[in-house]
């Protein structure tokens, strides 16, 4: 069996509530800034949750060659194009395009597009037959023809960001979209890594994009009581790992990376930013609404990823450091997630767990749902590159049960060589990726 190829990150881009380029977002993460504010995309004033972290002034103009080509792009596709083109440019692929587009693939964890909410709702209402308590099919189609548009309906298919990016970048290799709720883009990066490893592509663009900041998205999560309903300053609403945490805050945006084999990167003169060292994936297969309380499923994903990276979670390194330097937590700020994630990390690292800093940027950026894992993966790469750990903000009232090092409130300088990025989705999907400093 031939040696497994090493896979490196050579490009990154994001469009987030804290900004649309690597440096400005990173500096805001380092400054403990918050992207939360009252929702502007629709009138949420009477909803249980009235705030979110929105992308300010989304625009494709700086990124795509010809905006007209993507004239019907929804927010999901717009975010994705912005992030993917930035990653593509950073990797140097915009100026020197890949020689064989069929060796370049695409693996996204993109969410469904935004519903044409009001037109859809009014179509339904117009066709309602109170007697039968059903929508009348003939009235519905007539109302729909007048209200709904072909372009907006097609844009809701979850594989539309794939189509837009493939078109913009000329990608013709293996193309997948996975939609495993909040774990989707970590899974996409992990699966893209596996595709390159087995030789089905040389280069993969991977990441995620999502917004659920729309009436039915907020409704759905409010009904599940998963969102924070904090009544004060929205920037204080997301409180991962705090005792008074009351749910996550919705974010939106996209994160995209370019992955390739080390040989391919070096041959074309690209600079490796970091190495992807391992990927683990498991299903809780427990309950539709709850996570395995003993953290077994989450731990299984972490253990697989560490095993693939050749890291023993119970052994310190020769210089006495803990086995890894940082965990980018899923850390949603829901009661259940944060306590079970803590249990799972202890299950994996045992008595070394308290020595590993673990933070959640969701306190600052909100929860980008399907796109969360990709931006968090990128945060790990930047932590390695810049020797800084992003903080968990609003960590003022500590939960005595949660006794790990959550990098409270302020960013911290640290030597960072190995990071682990966790994502856990509704429905029991657990995914973990290990990122390591690239050393030639």
């Amino acid at each position: 069996m031939s040696a497994t190829p090493r896979i490196v990150v050579t490009g990154m881009g994001w469009v987030t509530p804290l900004g649309n380029d690597i440096d400005s977002v990173w500096s805001r993460l380092m400054a403990s800034a918050s992207g939360m504010a009252p929702i502007t995309r629709f009138d949420a004033s009477t909803f249980p949750t009235t705030f979110a972290a929105e992308v300010r002034e989304p625009s494709m103009a700086p990124f795509v060659a010809d905006e007209r080509v993507h004239a019907h792009a929804g927010l999901n596709s717009m975010f994705a194009l912005g992030a993917a083109v930035q990653a593509w440019r950073m990797a140097g692929l915009a100026t020197r395009r890949p020689t064989d587009p069929r060796r370049v693939g695409l693996y996204l964890g993109a969410g469904e597009g935004v519903l044409d909410t009001i037109n859809f709702f009014e179509t339904n209402i117009a066709s309602w037959d109170a007697g039968s308590q059903r929508c009348d099919g003939r009235k519905w189609i007539e109302a729909a023809k007048g209200r709904l548009s072909a372009a907006r309906e097609i844009e809701q298919e979850p594989n539309m960001p794939l189509a837009h990016i493939a078109r913009e970048l000329g990608i013709r290799g293996p193309a997948f979209n996975c939609l495993t709720a909040c774990a989707a883009s970590t899974q996409a990066i992990g699966e893209a890594y596996s595709i390159i490893q087995r030789g089905d592509a040389d280069v993969m663009v991977a990441g995620g994009t999502h917004t659920m900041v729309h009436p039915l998205g907020v409704t759905g999560f409010n009904r599940l009581t998963a969102l924070s309903t904090f009544k004060g300053d929205p920037t204080k609403a997301s409180r991962p790992f705090s005792i008074d945490r009351d749910g996550f805050v919705m974010g939106e945006g996209s994160g995209m990376v370019v992955l390739e084999t080390l040989d391919h990167a070096l041959a074309r003169g690209a600079r490796p930013l970091a190495e992807v060292a391992g990927y683990g994936s498991s299903a809780d297969a427990f309950r539709i609404t709850d996570i395995q309380p003993d953290g077994r499923g989450a731990a299984a994903a972490m253990l697989q990823a560490l095993d693939q990276a050749g890291i023993d979670p119970h052994a310190t390194r020769p210089d006495g450091r803990a086995p890894i330097d940082y965990i980018s937590a899923h850390g949603t700020g829901t009661k259940e997630n944060d306590s079970i994630e803590t249990v799972a990390v202890k299950r994996v690292f045992g008595e070394l767990a308290p020595r590993i800093p673990m933070s959640s940027i969701k306190g600052m950026m909100g929860h980008l749902i399907a796109a969360a894992g990709a931006v968090e993966f990128m945060t790990c790469v930047l932590a390695i590159e810049r020797g800084m750990l992003p903080p968990t903000i609003n960590h003022d009232r500590k939960d005595p049960e949660l006794d790990l090092d959550y990098v409270s409130n302020v960013a911290r300088a640290a030597k960072v060589d190995i990071c682990l990025s966790n994502s856990f989705g509704f429905g029991g999907q657990n995914d973990t990726v290990v990122v390591r400093r690239f050393e030639g």
């Binding site: 709904l148 189509a163 996975c178 939609l179 699966e191 409704t219």
Partner: protein, 435 residues
């Protein structure tokens, strides 16, 4: 290795029902029962039979959870039950308390899903509580009170990964799991993920496939807007409505259905004495360059479809001469048919006109993410029985062997399955006759 198949479609539950109906040349397309679709361009579809009852297909202890299953989830759960039984697997879902055949952490699950449409009757019953005096939607009333008319777990009916969530809980699959959402290509792409997962040793067996129902107002209107439906009034002749590869083809009909295939490592399958139903020979995936930006018009994508077919042949270590039949998309959508036809001609050359194309969409409709698994299950049956099912459609199909024909015996060594769907993703699977 394929050790089992389970499908659900207009012909009912189980691959036996699908296969015998296809061989008899039956058509599951009929006027839509779920709602009054008479105002749509295509007023007929291939719905699951009325007696499909998900409550009978889950363990008693799980019946309560069927309340939060969208139709798409029901199809996946029903198909999973049929698949594990067909493969002779003991799981928590088929025999709770008995030791499972496959260790839970070695059992994976990759299921393709569509954009699950919400039940408009259920949603609208809640929406009408929040109306403005003029009859429009009052978002303030909705935010304060109206939304409480939706059941708290409402969202969980419609997350695409809930197909895999329910299936993994019922059958206790803790291994690698994923949900692929690439329209009609989802099913084969999911199988590709399972194949690679088993190959790299991360699982001993996986449930792979997909499920979807587009038979709801939103599913139908999206396809109508996309120009993908044929004109078929409620009293039209369903048997000749979809005419793959024919000059007079004008679109597809919709169906609901899907399936799960049990893909198992050869060692595990042989060790437990499983019946090997077919061998997985090759797989490949790619992205088409499309005439539009959203991947609707595949008319110029023949080269990309052909590239995926050639890559799958290379992966299988086979020459084109080894392929004895093809299960194509065969949607009857002219642009997709054109891309497939040209791709077949470029890969198979003059022999194209002699390779039987097994088209199933005229009989079971376009089942979206469920399509690939239905195609694969039919391929398995073709290889097992050394027989081609009957074909519906046109009486003449220029350049390809796809015209209406009865079932016939045929020596089949390898069958190629092709899915190229909306969005431009293409996947190709090659299955071989079990030795």
């Amino acid at each position: 290795m394929v050790t089992g198949t389970g499908t659900a479609c207009g012909f009912g539950l189980g691959t036996d029902a699908l296969w015998s109906a296809l061989c008899e040349g039956r058509c599951a397309v009929a006027p839509v029962r779920a709602f009054d679709a008479s105002g749509f361009r295509c007023a007929q579809a291939a719905e699951l039979p009325a007696d499909f009852d998900i409550r009978q297909l889950v363990p008693k202890s799980y019946r309560k959870a069927t309340k939060v299953m969208a139709r798409d989830i029901e199809i996946a759960v029903g198909a999973a039950d049929a698949a594990v039984r067909d493969a002779g697997l003991v799981t928590k879902g088929t025999a709770e308390g008995s030791p499972p055949t496959i260790a839970p952490n070695r059992f994976g699950c990759h299921i393709g899903a569509g954009l699950i449409a919400c039940d408009v009757d259920e949603l609208t019953a809640a929406l009408v509580t929040s109306r403005t005096p003029a009859g429009g939607f009052d978002i303030n009333a909705w935010g304060s009170v109206g939304m409480t008319n939706l059941t708290p777990l409402w969202l969980l009916k419609y997350l695409p990964n809930m197909l895999a969530c329910h299936v993994t809980i019922i059958h206790d699959c803790h291994g690698p799991s994923n949900t692929i959402t690439c329209a009609e290509a989802s099913g084969l792409l999911s199988m590709g993920e399972s194949i690679r997962t088993v190959e790299r040793g991360a699982a001993d067996a996986c449930l792979a496939g997909g499920a979807e129902s587009k038979i709801n107002p939103m599913g139908l209107i999206r396809q109508q807007f996309a120009g993908r439906l044929c004109a078929l009034p409620a009293d039209g002749d369903a048997r000749t409505a979809v005419k793959p590869y024919a000059g007079e083809a004008d679109g597809s009909v919709l169906g609901e259905g899907g399936g799960l295939i049990v893909l198992e490592a050869e060692g595990t399958a042989r060790a437990r004495g499983a019946t090997i139903r077919a061998r997985v020979d090759g797989f490949a995936a790619g992205q088409c360059a499309c005439a539009d930006t959203v991947g609707l018009d595949l008319s110029g994508a023949a080269e990309d479809v052909a590239a995926a077919m050639s890559a799958a042949l290379r992966d299988a270590g086979l020459e084109p001469e080894s392929i004895d039949a093809i299960i194509p998309m065969g949607t009857g959508i002219p642009s997709t048919d054109a891309a497939e036809r040209t791709a077949f001609q470029s890969v198979f050359g003059p022999r194209t006109a002699a390779i039987p194309l097994v088209t199933i969409m005229p009989a079971v409709g376009n089942c979206g993410a469920g399509t690939g698994a239905l195609q694969a299950a039919v391929a398995v049956r073709c290889l097992e029985s050394q027989r081609l099912p009957a074909r519906l459609g046109a009486s003449s199909t220029d350049g390809v062997l796809a015209q209406a024909a009865p079932s016939s015996a045929a020596p089949l060594r390898h069958v190629m399955v092709v899915s190229a769907g909306l969005g431009g993703q293409v996947a190709v699977l090659i299955l071989g006759r079990a030795a």
